[in-house]
């Protein structure tokens, strides 16, 4: 059963790229992908080392052939501590398959940002 929680204002999300809130004892964030306009709800704790994952950057993953660089289609959130990258939709760590961060449905409604825990 859905239970939507208010995390912050849409204006703050667009300005800062993220909004954070403590909900039911968990630090939760919603991050904003400037390129696509998508919102992603995640737990604000990197499963690698405990860093504040939602303070990381949301951007296309880099890829390439040896000696050349390209942007992949996949969007990632990059932890601000050690740079490990996660799929913000599924929570899967792209650099260590054993790790996953909790993700939550997120949406904007009437100027507010909501997540469903």
């Amino acid at each position: 059963m859905s239970e939507w929680h208010d995390v912050g204002s849409l204006a703050d999300l667009r300005r800062d790229g993220r909004v954070l809130a403590r909900i039911e004892g968990r630090e939760v964030g919603v991050v904003f992908d400037q390129a696509s306009g998508s919102l992603y709800g995640l737990r604000n704790r990197c499963p690698h080392h405990g860093g504040p994952l939602c303070l990381g950057t949301v951007r296309p993953r880099l890829t390439g052939q040896p000696g050349s660089y390209a942007l992949a289609e996949a969007t990632v959130i990059r932890c601000p501590w050690h740079g490990w990258e996660f799929n913000p939709s599924t929570g899967a760590c792209l650099d260590e398959p054993a790790l996953r961060v909790a993700v939550y449905p997120a949406k904007a409604l009437e100027g507010r940002v909501l997540v469903d825990l």
């Binding site: 052939q65 040896p66 000696g67 390209a70 050690h82 740079g83 490990w84 990258e85 650099d95």
Partner: protein, 356 residues
């Protein structure tokens, strides 16, 4: 038993010079030790095992000596001859002299050694400072199946993952030859200084750090440049750089690969996994552990041992590993792999070795 590292010595300089093109022969004859860069750090007493009878020539300077000292007592089935000081051709200031000496050395190996004992195999010497010329030499000599690897020197201008060196690795891969990188030459001639903190003082420092650090640098460089992604058939054998550091450097590299992947985003797999598939390590000089061999084996297992290890004696050098001693020291379950199977797989069909 397959020995991946035997060093043929040049007993009679004229025997080698006879293979140098005539127009360059006098130049090489007039230089100290063929114009190869000299050692700033020399062994305090002797580079060689001092028990070997020499008759005024260096130990290991003819086939009979290698047979008597090594092949016969150890029952070695195949021994790979890696150039000794001549590996320093790649550190000569002149790539033209280096190419001439490498050609001569390869032809001398074929005539003076490979023709005289069918247990012996050759390593192709090439001038790394001129990779296109090196690739030509690899293709020239590599037609002879008795040459089973390409030989590069640990001392180098840049680590070997640099794209300038690709022609060497491409030629080797094309011919199905592993590339052996043998420590030595660090800080000599046109090589970068050994150890990474400026020139060292003593031979003990050079021997401890120079050889290990250069081998580490080449390993990391080849992995992060994506050399094995470019050349999926490439195999590399790292010789005489020590191995106890291997799990540490691979753990460190894997950690950095996750954190710093935007620098090298073409690396889709953990570097340690790629290393396990493509890189092999010679056992010699196997670190003395002060009675803690079990820790060494456990550490090495974390880095892919025993599959990644190949036996090497380093005959006739002072720090050689005696085959009989190694046979006893290695864990019993590792012996067949390390002493034979891994090298047989590395060299493949060129070895022409069929076991019952």
């Amino acid at each position: 038993m397959i020995d991946c590292d035997i060093h043929p010595q040049i007993g009679d300089p004229e025997e080698l010079l006879a293979h140098v093109e005539e127009a360059q022969r006098d130049w090489f004859r007039g230089q100290p030790y063929f114009g190869l860069p000299g050692y700033s750090w020399s062994h305090p007493s002797s580079w060689y095992r001092q028990d070997l009878s020499t008759d005024g020539r260096p130990p290991g300077s003819d086939v009979e000596a290698v047979q008597r000292d090594l092949l016969e007592p150890s029952g070695t089935e195949v021994g790979v001859l890696n150039a000794d000081d001549a590996v320093l051709v790649s550190l000569m200031p002149s790539p033209y002299r280096a190419a001439a000496l490498a050609r001569a050395h390869n032809d001398w190996i074929r005539e003076a050694w490979l023709e005289r004992d069918d247990r012996l195999r050759g390593a192709i010497l090439c001038p790394a400072q001129d990779p296109e010329e090196a690739a030509r030499e690899i293709r020239r000599v590599g037609e002879d199946p008795r040459f089973v690897q390409v030989l590069l020197c640990g001392g180098a201008e840049r680590p070997y993952g640099e794209p300038r060196y690709l022609p060497i690795f491409e030629a080797a891969t094309e011919l199905g030859l592993p590339v052996a990188i043998h420590s030595g030459g660090e800080g000599m001639g046109i090589a970068a200084p050994p150890g990474g903190a400026g020139p060292v003082t003593f031979y003990i420092e050079w021997h401890t750090l120079g050889s290990a650090c250069s081998i580490m640098a080449h390993l990391v460089s080849l992995l992060v440049h994506g050399t094995f992604e470019r050349l999926p058939g490439l195999k590399v054998l790292l010789i005489e750089g020590g191995i106890a550091w291997l799990p540490g450097i691979l753990w460190r590299l894997d950690t950095n690969w996750r954190a710093l992947r935007t620098d090298t985003p073409w690396l889709e797999r953990k570097p340690s996994e790629v290393a396990r598939e493509h890189v092999r390590f010679s056992t010699q000089p196997l670190e003395h552990t002060d009675g803690h061999d079990e820790l060494l084996w456990e550490m090495l297992e974390a880095a892919g041992a025993p599959e990644v290890l190949c036996f090497a004696s380093d005959y006739p050098h002072w720090d050689f590993d005696d085959p009989a001693f190694m046979l006893k020291r290695l864990p019993e379950s590792w012996r067949e792999r390390v002493l034979h199977e891994n090298a047989a797989a590395l060299y493949g069909e060129r070895l022409g070795l069929v076991r019952a």
